[in-house]
């Protein structure tokens, strides 16, 4: 949908992914899509809608329910120079394939002395809030962000979805591409033409002076909303959108916090050992002398996520939780406008 004039098209995150897959399938014959229900069913979340009809069943390959098998098959195809883009229906099911991801995709390039790269993308949506209960609502990104040999990206906006997916497909390493169920219908401006993001780089999506909020994926969207809301109250929030969880752009994180002297991490994963723990440790080393208060984390409650809405909502971090923690931090440091 275009607004006309010189404005950029405003499309959904879903559409940005769909457009990018189409563009890359068209551009490069070695790119193919593989996963469960991505063809005739058009994807559980319709990310691959229309692509089977356009590219046929070898370029858009439906698989049996065999995550370990088809993830491993994508690895082998990548070793022979193909560029498979795998859809894992949700990140929760990636656990069935984790041996292939961690013990094989992440190892083959280095362990065999750089002889064969594994140029593959593993797309997988995560996230809670859809009342899917404990096994279908997880944010397991830290499992993959922990592993050398993988690259892990987590776009928050339709524009980043396009630019990071393009970069991931053209990258010669295995890239975990984290989507989020609650982002699929979000809309944003997406530049036309080829857009390639730089993996490994965070973005300051809003500049500010009083406190830095560090986030990724869905949490980045919330952080930006909160930042705009607090602006009206005279609080200047800087937002760092990580975009890449491995490698982690420690430089941008530390540079921001050295400026604002206050840091809050908003994350959808569980608190203990989460992404925020790594960022906190980074700030201890890279911004300790600049901090006016301890770094705070706003993360998911550590329970298997319940189905019932009041419990689910209580467990997941939201804008109000973030605002509360920012205010506590400001108060603790005698913040005045």
């Amino acid at each position: 949908m275009t607004r006309g004039g010189d404005q950029m098209p405003v499309i959904t995150y879903r559409q940005a992914l769909n457009d990018t897959l189409r563009a890359e399938l068209t551009r490069d014959e070695s790119v193919f899509l593989i996963g469960e229900e991505i063809g005739i069913f058009e994807g559980s979340y319709k990310i691959t809608a229309g692509l089977l009809a356009e590219f046929g069943p070898t370029r858009v390959r439906d698989t049996p329910i065999s995550e370990e098998g088809f993830v491993g098959a994508a690895i082998g195809a990548a070793m022979l120079g193909m560029r498979p883009v795998v859809e894992i229906m949700t990140i929760n099911f990636s656990l069935i394939a984790i041996d292939q991801i961690v013990n094989h995709a992440a190892k083959i390039y280095g362990m065999f002395g750089g002889q064969t790269a594994v140029p593959m993308v593993l797309r997988m949506p995560g996230g809670g809030g859809q009342q899917l209960a404990a096994t279908h609502s997880q944010n397991l990104e830290v499992w993959y962000a922990h592993v050398p040999g993988l690259k892990v990206v987590a776009p928050a906006t339709p524009a980043d979805a396009k630019a990071l997916l393009t970069a991931a497909i053209r990258d010669d390493d295995p890239v975990i591409f984290l989507e989020n169920l609650s982002l699929y219908n979000t809309k944003g401006e997406v530049p036309e033409g080829e857009q390639i993001a730089e993996i490994g780089k965070a973005a300051v999506t809003k500049e500010g002076t009083d406190v830095t909020v560090i986030a990724y994926s869905r949490a980045s969207v919330i952080a930006l909303e909160v930042a705009r809301q607090l602006e009206d109250d005279g609080v200047s929030v800087e937002v760092v959108d990580l975009r890449s969880l491995r490698p982690l752009d420690r430089h941008t994180i530390c540079a921001s916090v050295r400026k604002t002297s206050r840091a809050v991490i908003l994350e959808d994963d569980w608190l203990s050992y989460g992404i925020g723990a790594e960022i906190s440790a980074t700030l201890m080393e890279g911004a300790f002398d600049y901090l006016d208060a301890p770094v705070r984390r706003v993360a998911a409650a550590e329970v298997p996520l319940p189905y019932a809405k009041p419990l689910e909502s209580a467990a997941l971090p939201d804008a109000n939780d973030l605002i509360k923690v920012i205010r506590e931090l400001l108060e603790a440091t005698s913040f005045t406008r």
Partner: protein, 361 residues
């Protein structure tokens, strides 16, 4: 008292009289290759005990006819994926003994630059795309390699195909079944070869498998299965070649079960106390090397002197391999991050233990 393992012997007459039609030079080539593997593996065990080799070290001792028969069925352009018991396959596929030994020694001149070790022989040149240390880890990637071949070529007698070697114990993991299923529905040019040495570490096939005739497991996927005597190099080659031809020409995936023996323990450090003396004795009797030697002598293809010359040559090659490995440089710590990523990336970690993770301004 612990009951000792009795492995069932249901095939394995070994090499009988050699067929007259087989060219003498071919048979001699197989004997040379088998003797080289034997000498290499005995030396590897010795080097392990001398702490030149670290980690795990699994040997092909007793499996030489299987290894040589299987690789003889491959074309140059075929791909091979194997288990961690892979030294013999690396040699037989054409990797230089010095580079294979150097890999065991962890040297920069190793086939994987010393980064993989015993379980991870790999060489794009000879298209052996890995020894794999995780049991069954190679099966889905091998299947995917076969899938890639369907994108880049048509079936035919000279088409490329994949051989995926695995052990008997591996047939019980999910990846095996998922892979066979995909190979069947997608008509992939791949032959899965189960090397059945009767023991998964110390567990017998009968104890581990609901269907211990493992070649029958292809039936669930309408993949034709066949069992062959792994001590007969020609029988192995014939069965593997026929299956590979079907894979190349018809994209018919195959399943081959090769009945073999481990002469020694699971790895160098395993004394195999769980095996009965009768079983060990049977494995020794089935040893394919004296059997082929006897057949070649009987057929007049070699005499005792020639046989000893072949064996001496193998020993010399292996000694040279040890010397090469020994004199090769160790990798330097500064090379640690050399193969972190194929595509360079911003902010790639490069800190050593204790290094600061960020530079202070």
């Amino acid at each position: 008292m612990v009951e000792k393992t009795e492995v069932i012997m249901d095939s394995g007459e070994g090499t009988g009289p050699v067929p007259a039609k087989e060219p003498a030079e071919v048979l001699l080539g197989y004997y040379r290759d088998m003797v080289l593997i034997r000498s290499f593996e005995l030396t590897a065990a010795e080097m392990y005990k001398r702490a030149k080799i670290g980690g795990y070290c699994h040997l092909n001792l007793g499996e030489e006819a299987t290894v040589v028969g299987l690789t003889a069925a491959l074309h140059k352009r075929d791909y091979l994926f194997t288990t961690y018991r892979d030294h013999g396959y690396a040699l037989s596929r054409g990797m230089a003994p010095g580079q294979v030994m150097a890999e065991l020694f962890g040297k920069t001149t190793g086939v994987a630059k010393g980064r993989g070790g015993s379980m991870h022989m790999f060489d794009t040149e000879t298209r052996m795309l890995g020894g794999y240390g995780i049991v069954g880890g190679q099966i889905p990637p091998a299947t995917g390699a076969a899938l890639a071949l369907t994108y880049r070529g048509e079936p035919g007698p000279d088409a490329e195909a994949v051989m995926c070697q695995l052990g008997d114990g591996t047939t019980n993991i999910g990846a095996f079944h998922e892979s066979l299923n995909m190979a069947a529905i997608w008509d992939l040019p791949i032959v899965y070869v189960i090397v059945n040495n009767r023991l998964g570490m110390g567990t017998t096939v009968e104890a581990a498998s609901g269907e211990p005739e493992l070649y029958r497991r292809g039936a669930s996927y309408r993949i034709p299965g066949e069992r062959v005597d792994g001590n007969d190099v020609l029988a192995v080659r014939e069965a593997a070649a026929a299956a590979m031809e079907r894979a190349r020409a018809q994209r018919q995936p195959g399943l081959l079960e090769v009945m073999s023996y481990r002469l020694k323990g699971h790895s160098v450090v395993d004394p195999a106390r769980y095996r009965s003396s009768e079983d060990t004795e049977r494995a020794r009797e089935a040893d394919p090397i004296p059997a082929l030697r006897g057949s070649l002598l009987q057929a007049g293809i070699i005499d005792e002197e020639h046989a000893m010359e072949i064996e001496r040559e193998a020993d010399e090659q292996v000694s040279a391999a040890v010397a090469f490995a020994d004199s090769s440089p160790d990798p330097a710590p500064g090379e640690l991050f050399n193969y972190a990523y194929a595509t360079p990336v911003a902010n790639a970690p490069h800190t050593l233990p204790g290094d600061p993770v960020v530079e202070m301004p």
